[in-house]
C-alpha cells in the first residue's frame, strides 16, 4: 500500500470550517427568507393596489349618483308622508257626521200637530255616536200618542240610515194649554226626546247561498 501525504490538510480543513460557518449559513437562510417575505409582500402590495383602484372606481361611481339617490330618498320620504297624511285626512273626512241628512230625516218625522222648540245635537268624541235631544209640544185629542208617533217615526226614519238607534222620552207631560190646529181645538203635551245612534250605516244581512241559487233558477 502506497503512502499518501496530504500536505494541504490544514488548509482544506480551514476551508471546510469556513464553509460550515453557522453564522454564514444563518445569514444565507435569513437572506433567503427575507427574499421570500419580500416577494410575498410585493404580491400583497400589488393586490392592495388593485383593490385600491377598484375602490376608487366604485367611489367615483357612488359620488356620481349620490346626489340623485339622496334626492330620490328625500322624494320617497316626502311622497310617503303625503300619502299617509292624505289617507288620514280622507279617513277623517269620510268619518264626519253629516247633519244635513239628519235634519232632513227629522223634518220628515214632524207632523203638523207637533212642534219642535229645542234641538240639541252633539257628536260624541271620536265619532262614537250621536246624542240628540229634541224638545217640543204635541197637539191632538191624545197628545201623548202624537208624541209617541213622533218617537216611532224617528226610530223608523233614523233606523234606515244609522245603527243602534234609540229614541226615549225623557219627559212627556200633559199641558193645560189648548191650541187651535186647522180650526180644531186640541190638547197639548210637552215632551223631551233623547235620541242616540251610531252614525255608521246598518250592515245589510248577507245573502244566503240558498236564496241566491233560488233567484238564479
Amino acid at each position: 500500500m502506497a503512502l499518501h501525504l496530504n500536505l494541504l490538510h490544514e488548509e482544506i480543513l480551514e476551508q471546510r470550517q469556513r464553509q460550515r460557518d453557522p453564522l454564514k449559513l444563518g445569514m444565507i437562510a435569513l437572506v433567503g427568507c427575507g427574499a421570500l417575505l419580500f416577494l410575498y409582500y410585493t404580491w400583497n402590495a400589488y393586490r392592495t393596489l388593485e383593490i385600491k383602484s377598484r375602490l376608487t372606481t366604485v367611489e367615483r361611481a357612488w359620488k356620481k349618483i349620490e346626489p340623485g339617490v339622496t334626492a330620490a330618498q328625500k322624494r320617497v320620504a316626502d311622497l310617503e308622508g303625503v300619502i299617509k297624511t292624505t289617507r288620514t285626512l280622507d279617513d277623517y273626512i269620510d268619518n264626519r257626521f253629516f247633519w244635513a241628512p239628519f235634519l232632513q230625516k227629522v223634518s220628515r218625522c214632524v207632523a203638523p200637530n207637533t212642534q219642535l222648540t229645542n234641538f240639541e245635537g252633539v257628536v260624541l268624541d271620536e265619532n262614537k255616536g250621536i246624542n240628540v235631544s229634541i224638545e217640543g209640544v204635541a197637539a191632538g185629542r191624545e197628545p201623548r200618542s202624537v208624541a209617541e208617533d213622533l218617537r216611532q217615526m224617528l226610530l223608523e226614519q233614523l233606523g234606515q240610515s244609522y245603527s243602534e238607534v234609540k229614541a226615549e222620552f225623557k219627559t212627556l207631560e200633559d199641558l193645560d194649554t189648548i191650541v187651535n190646529v186647522a180650526g180644531t181645538h186640541m190638547a197639548t203635551a210637552h215632551y223631551i226626546l233623547t235620541v242616540n245612534f251610531n252614525p255608521a250605516a246598518v250592515p245589510k244581512p248577507a245573502e244566503s247561498p240558498a236564496s241566491a241559487r233560488a233567484r238564479k233558477q
Partner: protein, 186 residues
C-alpha cells in the same frame, strides 16, 4: 457535527436576527398592508351595497311618483281649501259670507281654541274649534246651508248643533254651531 462555543454563539445570533426580522415584517409591513386592504374591501362592499340599493331607491321613487299622483293632487287640493294667514283673520269673514250667500244673515263666528293632532301623519295640521252663531235662520234654509257647508268644506265638521225657537219671531230659529276645521300649520 459537534458545534463549538463560537458556532453556538453565531447560531443564536442568527436565530435572534430571524425572529427580529419576522417581527418587523409582520408588525410594520404586512400587518398594516393587510389592514388597509381589509378596510378597502369593506369600503367596496359598503359602496357596492349602496349602489345596489340606490338603483332600487331610484326605481322606487319613480314608481311611487306614478302611484302617488292621485294622493299628491288630493293633498294639494286639501291644502288649497284654506287660504294663507292666521285662521282667525279669514275664517269668521268666510263663514259670514258663506251663510250670507245661503240667505242666513248676521252670522258671527268666533274661535274657541286650537289643538294639534296626536297622529304623527297629521303633525303638520291643527284642529281649530269655532262657534258659529246664527241668530236668525229658518229650518229649511239652515238645512240647505249646512248641506252646502258639509259638501264644500270637507275639512270642516260640525260637532254640535243647537236650534232654539225664537218666541217673538216664530218664523226664525236661533242656531249655534260648534265646528272643527282642520288647517295646515303655517
Amino acid at each position: 457535527m459537534k458545534l463549538n462555543k463560537d458556532q453556538v454563539k453565531k447560531l443564536s445570533l442568527s436565530a435572534i436576527g430571524f425572529v427580529f426580522l419576522l417581527y418587523v415584517y409582520f408588525t410594520f409591513f404586512l400587518g398594516p398592508l393587510n389592514r388597509s386592504r381589509d378596510g378597502m374591501l369593506l369600503k367596496i362592499k359598503d359602496f357596492q351595497s349602496k349602489l345596489d340599493a340606490s338603483k332600487e331607491q331610484m326605481n322606487k321613487a319613480v314608481k311611487l311618483e306614478q302611484h302617488a299622483k292621485t294622493s299628491t293632487g288630493r293633498f294639494a287640493a286639501l291644502k288649497a281649501l284654506n287660504p294663507e294667514g292666521a285662521p282667525i283673520a279669514w275664517f269668521p269673514p268666510r263663514a259670514r259670507a258663506f251663510f250670507a250667500n245661503q240667505q242666513v244673515d248676521k252670522v258671527v263666528a268666533r274661535l274657541e281654541g286650537s289643538i294639534g293632532f296626536k297622529q304623527a301623519e297629521l303633525s303638520g295640521w291643527m284642529k281649530y274649534s269655532w262657534i258659529i252663531d246664527l241668530p236668525q235662520a229658518d229650518y229649511g234654509t239652515l238645512g240647505r246651508a249646512i248641506a252646502e257647508l258639509e259638501n264644500t268644506d270637507p275639512l270642516l265638521s260640525i260637532t254640535k248643533l243647537s236650534i232654539h225657537t225664537l218666541p217673538d219671531q216664530p218664523q226664525f230659529q236661533h242656531v249655534d254651531l260648534a265646528a272643527v276645521n282642520i288647517i295646515e300649520k303655517k
